[in-house]
Assembly symmetry: C2
Homo-oligomer: 107 residues x 2
DNA sequence: GATGAGTACTATACATTGTATAGTACTGTG
DNA sequence: CACAGTACTATACAATGTATAGTACTCATC
């Protein structure tokens, strides 16, 4: 899996998953890993950064399955940022796919 | 336009356009710029890198419109690499789009 | 001839964000 | 106690865009 493709996308993935419900870090890693090979080590700094930037708030919650979990919750600002990113992603991938069509089509 | 999304994609775009026909650097910049905002300054180092890596060969050709042009031509190795990248791009974007679906769908 | 615009390419410092790796801490089980 | 699974923290490094600055050529205009 091309590392460079992934840049910038990880935060989109995290924001999208949190749009649906609050989640803890490890769960986010697992959910994303179902679709894209990622390193655990990159998610936590990202979560910290996005929290610092005001897109999430966090709270601790006891777990019956292991240590307590740090949950992340999307803020309104986070939700707005997500909408932006979703649009950018769509515009961007459409642009790339159009280039691929142009390049691949042989007249 | 999110800079990080673009990482790794520029080389895919260049390879795809050269799959169709030989092109010179400036033309590649223009064609890609039609779809994605990119900086000219990033394309030339990329072209040099991919040439050094064996994916292109180059030749000079006189132009009637300005200075002579340095054309880039895809090698067989380049074509193979392109196929790889195309598959990776598809796998990757499908994975991201699936995550977006999951995250966005509210039950 | 000088100048400017457009064509065409080169070079470099820097910012950003993944990976890889190493580690910590908690809980339950054997 | 040791180990596995759960859950999180920290850091060095690689890679590749951007921004910026520049070079050189050709043609048109003054």
């Amino acid at each position: 899996m091309n590392v460079q493709f992934k840049k910038g996308v990880l935060e989109l993935c995290v924001l999208v998953l949190l749009d649906k419900q609050d989640r803890y870090g490890y769960e986010l890693v697992q959910r994303i890993s179902d679709r894209i090979a990622i390193s655990e080590g990159s998610v936590y700094p990202l979560l910290r950064r996005l929290t610092k930037d005001g897109y999430f708030t966090t709270y601790l919650k006891e777990s019956t399955e292991g240590p307590s979990r740090k949950y992340y919750k999307l803020t309104d600002e986070g939700r707005r940022y997500l909408d932006e990113l979703l649009q950018e992603w769509e515009t961007f991938t459409n642009g790339v796919n159009q280039l691929i069509e142009e390049g691949v089509n042989r007249e």
